[in-house]
Structures are given as C-alpha cells and as structure tokens.
C-alpha cells in the first residue's frame, strides 16, 4: 500500500470494458423500461379513472337535481287545494263532526298530527365506508392486464 487511493485513481489511464458490466447496464436499462412502462400505464389509468369519477360526479349531481325537480313536481300535485278539488270531483265532501265516531284504541294518541309528526324523523345519511379487498397478486394481475391493454391500444 505504498500508493494512496487517489494515486491509484489518478494512475488509471482509461476505463476497461468488461462483458459483465455491459450485461448489467443492459439489464438496468430493461428494468428501467419496465418500471417506466408500469408507471406510465399506472398514471394513464389513474387519469382515465379520475375522468370517469368526474363524469360520475357530474351525472350524480344531474340526477340529484332531476330527483329534486320530480319531488317538487310531486309536491305540487299533492297540494291540498288540488287534492280537495279532485276529491270533490269524484264525489267526496268534507265530513262534519256529527258524522265522526271515536273509538278508544289502547296505545293510540288521539292527537293524530302529533303522532304523525313524531313518526317523521328523517335519519341523516351516513357515508358508506369504502371496502378494500385487494390482494397483492390481484393487484399484479390487474396491472399486467392494464399494461397489456395499454400496449394493445398503442399498437392500434
């Protein structure tokens, strides 16, 4: 060890080509290509999925609005004047108090409107928790399928 490490470095005149190094380089490039392809396919599928989610959100909002529109229409068809007019049209008339008989039913609150109102208690909607049942092999399979599809689409 008469020479220090930098003397050794400076003493090298040129790089030597070796077969093993070449093979390693090619392998490295191949791995990089595979990883790159996987990354690209992953990113592409992610972007496509996001676009689909955006479309679904937009569609959901549209359906929600249509639903509210329909609820509003139903409500306007169920207004008391309209129902009353229709009832009269088909031969009904408002009852008078003398025409009403009262029966005692155990457990029934005679204040009907209050009972109905108490029954009306809309529950707040709870967001459903996402379920994850993906396995590693399943994920690999999915990625391979996606990659195949990507390559096929590139080919087309």
């Amino acid at each position: 060890m008469s020479q220090t490490w930098f003397q050794h470095t400076f003493s090298r005149k040129r790089f030597q080509t070796r077969n093993q190094a070449t093979a390693m380089a090619i392998l490295g490039i191949a791995v990089l290509l595979i990883l790159g392809s996987l990354y690209l396919s992953q990113v592409a599928s992610f972007a496509i999925t996001n676009r689909e989610i955006e479309d679904l959100i937009s569609r959901r909002d549209q359906l929600k609005r249509q639903n509210e529109q329909l609820i509003g229409e139903i409500a306007s068809y169920r207004t008391v004047p309209r129902l009353f007019a229709r009832a009269v049209e088909i031969g009904f008339r408002p009852a008078t108090n003398s025409e009403i008989d009262y029966l005692l039913i155990e457990g029934y609150d005679s204040k009907g409107s209050k009972a109905r109102a108490d029954a009306f208690s809309p529950e707040p909607l709870e967001a459903a928790a996402p379920i994850y049942e993906e396995t590693f092999s399943g994920w690999l399979e999915q990625q391979f399928t996606l990659l195949t599809e990507q390559l096929e689409s590139f080919g087309k």
């Binding site: 249509q66 306007s76 009306f120």
Partner: protein
C-alpha cells in the same frame, strides 16, 4: 512523502481544506433545505398558494339551501335548477341547424338565435332563465358551442299556502327574506365555498363537501289546518268586504303555531310580480293595531291575579267614565247598573274595564301587561317581528287617560301573535309557552329538536280557571255565533276603533274586529285568533264569532278533538283501563 511529485504533494496538502470546504457547503445546503422545509406557516402558505395557482382553478360553489317542511313532512320550500344558455359563435359549425334546434326547444325566434350564432363576439347570451327540462334538452344536443349555466331557484310547491310564514328568497336563491326564510337565513343558506379544482389529471377530483349544505327546517304548521284556515279567512274577508284579515291557530300547551294565515296573500314563486308592497308584510307579526275590547279579558285576569277584584266584585255602571280629561263610553252609550266582571266581558263594557284598570293602578296594571308580553317581541321565529307599543308611566305622551283606554285595548298597539300568546297563557292554566314556528332543524350532524319552553307563569291556575269560566259565559250569553254543539268554547269578541291624528275614524269600514277563543275550554288544544281589518260591519261580536265557529268545526276534525261527551267517556275508559292495569 517520498516519491511524490511536487504537484501531488501540493494536492495532498490542500485536500483536507477542500474536504472541509465541501463538508461545510453540504452542511449549509442541508440547513437551508431544512429551513425551507420548516418555513414559517405564513411563508409556506404563500408559497403553496403560488404553486397551487399554477395547477389549480378556484370554483365558487353556491351552497344548496335547506328545505322547509310542515310538521308532517310535506314539502313547503324546495330547490330547483334553471339555466342560462349562451353560445360561443367561434365554435359553431352549422349555425342554421343549431339555431333551428335551439329555437325549437326554447320556443324563441329562430332568426334571433341565428344572429347570435354568427356573431363576432366570443360569447353571446341566448336565453335565460330556462327550465330544467329545456336545459336537459339543450344538453342532449351535445353541442360544444353551447354553454349552460346553472341558476339555483327556490320553488314553493304549495304556492300561496302559508306564504307569509315561509317567506321568499332573493338574489338567485341565496338570501332569504320574510318569514322563516328570512328569520332562519343563516341556518338554511349553508356556506358558499371556494372549491379548489386541480388541473392535474392525476389528482383525484374533489366532491362537493356535504357539510356546506344548509340545514332543513320542519315547521310546527299543519298543512291541512293551514289550508282550511286560509279558505275560511278568504271567504270571511270577501263576505265582509274587509281590507284584510289574519287568523292564527296555536297549541297552548306547546306554543306551536299550527296555522298562520293572512288574506290577501301572495305567491312566493311570483313575488316579483306583486304590485302592492303591503302584500309582502306579515300582519300576524308585523301589523300592529289597537286590539280593542278583546283586551278586557286580560284586564279582568290581571285584576283577579293582583287581588284587585274577586269573582264576586261588582260596581255601578252608569255607562260613562272620565279619566285624564277624556270620556269613556259603553257601546251604544248604555248603562248597566250593578255589574260584575262577567257582565263587563259579556256586554263588553268599556267603562267597566276602565274602572277595573283604575282600581288596579298603573303599577299593577302595566306590570301585568308586561307579564302578558305586550311591548316585547314574542320571538316566535318569523322575520322582522314588531314589538308593539305599550306606553307606560314616564314615557313621552303617556297620561292618565292611557290607563283607562288601555284597559279596553285602545291606545295600546299589539301584534296578533302577542295577543294569541297572552290568551294561550290563560288557556294553559296561566303558564305562557314560548310561541314557536320551527319544530326541528335537520343538519348533517343530526336533528335538533326545539323543545317547548316556558316563558313564565303569568297568572295562577285559579285565576286562569276563573277567566276561562268567564269566557265560556261570554260565548254562551254574548257571542252566540261561536257556540258549537257538543263543545265548550271559551272566547271573547273584540271591536277596536282606528285611531287617527285627530281622533277615531268614523263611517263604514272603520273598525278592526276580532275574536279569540279556545277549545275544548276545559282541555284546550287550540287557541284561535280571528281578526278582520275594516269589515263592512262595525262590531266584532256580529262578525267574528261565526268565522271562529267555522274554523273550529274544521279544527275538531283535523286535530281529532272529540266532543265533550265522547271525551268524558274516553277519559273514563282510559281511567278504568289504567286502574285495571295497575
């Protein structure tokens, strides 16, 4: 160091310095990197803002307004969407076909649309607001040059029903005004959010946050009761050719407003078409008036409560009284001789009520009037509620005559809501409940139930019972029009003259008539106030008891109130059943 060239020796000598320099440089970079990473919050936020401005777009998301329901869950106010249609002329490929399609869907002039599709402008407004159906038909064309912009709109499916209670929404569905829409605007309107939308396709799209939506409101109103009350009120206003009318139905046990009707009314879907701005006012809480002789019942209740009079108290009625330099006369200038509290109420004796008021004195009288809630807003939960005007000793313009006149409901201004709340206290054994129009508030975090609350005990149970019995006699012996077969009704009609700057109005249509009653008198489930402004009949007892009766006849069916006989049998059966059970 043998064998080294001078150059190598120099390098070797300098190498430690270079190494130290590189280490220091690396340390400097690491420190700076850490410093950058842990910047002060404000600086970091600023940098993030600059970064996100490149990759993000800010979208203003209007909050979806909460809905309004009646007590049974029937929708009273809803949101619908309308659209504004625009076109980018530069993107139009076939103007003729496009203008033909658009004009067919919207039913507008084809040439007008065509003119816009070939315009030199970047963007042209075509039509709006257009309905949701038309908007969907336009969207179905899948035409890239057409742009639809959403316009939120409030929709009231029940049209005029409870219009003054519900209110209206201004500014394209964003700001509530009048009624519950105005009073609960903060609750209903939710929060307008600036949502940051990423332009990077790899970022997950953000959904509209659920918590920004306004809360839903469930009212105490009963839609069916409201409908019948409005129908009867409309008929009464037309029959007596009154200027306007108001009816309120309240559950005295809970303070729930079951119905609140005004006529003439408005359609909140078309409030912009209203020509008379007075129609936007809710007279039930905003229209102050002198209640007149209906107030005599509260004067008697106050005197009984303060011990000024007893049920056996009498006075000599000569039909006239002078207080503070002003004359007080009975109806038709009649004198009634020896009269008691019942006679005062049955015959509606102004001089009698004034006598009771004078015997009470100002301190007792006005403290009781304050206890009944006059001069203060009830807090029922409706927009811009008035406080009325109860002048008390020490106020400007108050003089001794006020005590006499206030005793029979003149020179004091109240709202119908204050009056029915005061009488509900009598009906509810002397306990005043907080009147309320909102029953539940439903948000993402759950349901907030507005429990009935007590304001105060105004009179004792005994006083309330005496006044109730007096009011039963009023219906049986004075206001016969309110008498209902099978039901015990407690009530009091009222007539009030309309004061002007120079005295009281005279001539036709110059009075305000009213009636307040509750039923069944011994187990009150509804208190009803009827009020007509300027009817063609001057005296209230000739008009309002009939209107009350017509409403009460519907109420007993809608609220499932059996007649006295059936109720006593049902109560007996219930008592027996509970006795057997125990």
């Amino acid at each position: 160091m043998q064998g080294l060239s001078p150059q190598q020796s120099t390098i070797q000598a300098r190498l430690p310095f270079v190494a130290i320099f590189l280490i220091l440089l690396a340390a400097y970079l690491v420190i700076n990197l850490a410093n950058f990473q842990f910047f002060p919050r404000s600086v970091r936020q600023e940098l993030e803002k600059i970064g996100s401005s490149v990759t993000n777009t800010t979208l203003r998301v209007p909050a979806e307004r909460g809905l309004i329901f009646d007590r049974d869950g029937e929708p009273l106010a809803f949101n619908i969407v309308q659209y504004r249609l625009g076109v980018s002329p530069d993107l139009v490929a076939d103007p003729e076909t496009l203008s033909d399609q658009v004009s067919n869907i919207l039913g507008i002039d084809e040439f007008e649309v065509y003119r816009k599709t070939i315009s030199d402008n970047v963007w042209e407004f075509v039509a709006g607001p257009i309905s949701a159906e038309q908007g969907q038909a336009i969207a179905a064309l899948d035409e890239i040059s057409l742009g639809l912009e959403e316009i939120p709109k409030r929709f009231y499916p029940q049209e005029t029903l409870a219009a003054h209670v519900i209110g209206i929404v201004l500014d394209e569905g964003l700001v509530g005004s009048l009624g519950v829409e105005g009073a609960y605007n903060e609750t209903l309107s939710g929060r307008v959010l600036d949502l940051s939308i990423s332009n990077v396709p790899f970022d997950l799209p953000k959904d509209r946050p659920a918590e920004q939506r306004g809360k839903d409101i469930v009212l105490t109103l009963d839609r069916d009761v409201q409908f019948w009350v409005e129908s009867e009120l409309k008929a009464a206003v037309e029959e007596y050719r009154a200027y306007r009318g108001t009816v309120i139905v309240m559950d005295p046990g809970t303070g729930d407003v079951l119905a609140l009707a005004n006529y003439p009314t408005m359609d909140p879907n078309r409030f912009l078409e209203i020509e008379d701005p007075a129609l936007l006012e809710n007279p039930a809480v905003q229209g102050v008036y002198e209640p007149g002789s209906i107030m005599q019942a509260l004067t008697v209740a106050s005197a009984l409560e303060t011990g000024t009079i007893t049920p056996y108290w009498t006075y000599n009625d000569d039909g006239h009284l002078e207080i503070g330099g002003k004359d007080i006369w009975n109806r038709f200038f009649q004198a009634h001789g020896t009269a008691d509290a019942a006679t005062i109420l049955i015959r509606s004796l102004n001089s009698g009520a004034a006598t009771v008021g004078l015997e009470m004195g100002t301190e007792k009288f006005y403290s009781m009037m304050r206890a009944f809630g006059f001069g203060q807003a009830t807090g029922v939960g409706l927009f811009a509620e008035e406080r009325g005007d109860l002048k008390i000793p020490g106020d400007t313009n108050w003089n001794e005559s006020y005590l006499g006149y206030n005793s029979f409901g003149q020179d004091v201004k109240v709202t119908p809501m204050q009056l029915i709340t005061a009488f509900s206290a009598i009906a509810n054994d002397g306990i005043m409940r907080q009147p309320r129009i909102v029953r539940q508030v439903i948000g993402e975090e759950g349901i907030e139930e507005a429990r009935p609350t007590t304001v105060r005990r105004v009179v004792s149970t005994e006083t309330a019972a005496i006044v109730r019995d007096l009011m039963i006699r009023v219906v049986r012996e004075g206001a016969l029009g309110a008498f209902m077969r099978g039901y015990t009704i407690a009530g009091k009609p009222g007539t009030a003259w309309i004061s002007t700057a120079v005295g009281e109005e005279v001539g036709s249509h110059s009075s305000i008539v009213s009636f307040i009653g509750f039923l069944p008198a011994h187990d009150p489930q509804a208190v009803v106030l009827v009020k007509l402004d300027r009817p063609n009949e001057y005296y209230g007892y000739k008009v309002t008891p009939h209107i009350f009766k017509r409403i009460a006849e519907r109420l007993v069916i809608l609220l499932e109130i059996p007649d006295d006989e059936v109720r006593s049998r049902l109560n007996a059966a219930k008592t027996n059943a509970s006795a057997d059970g125990s």
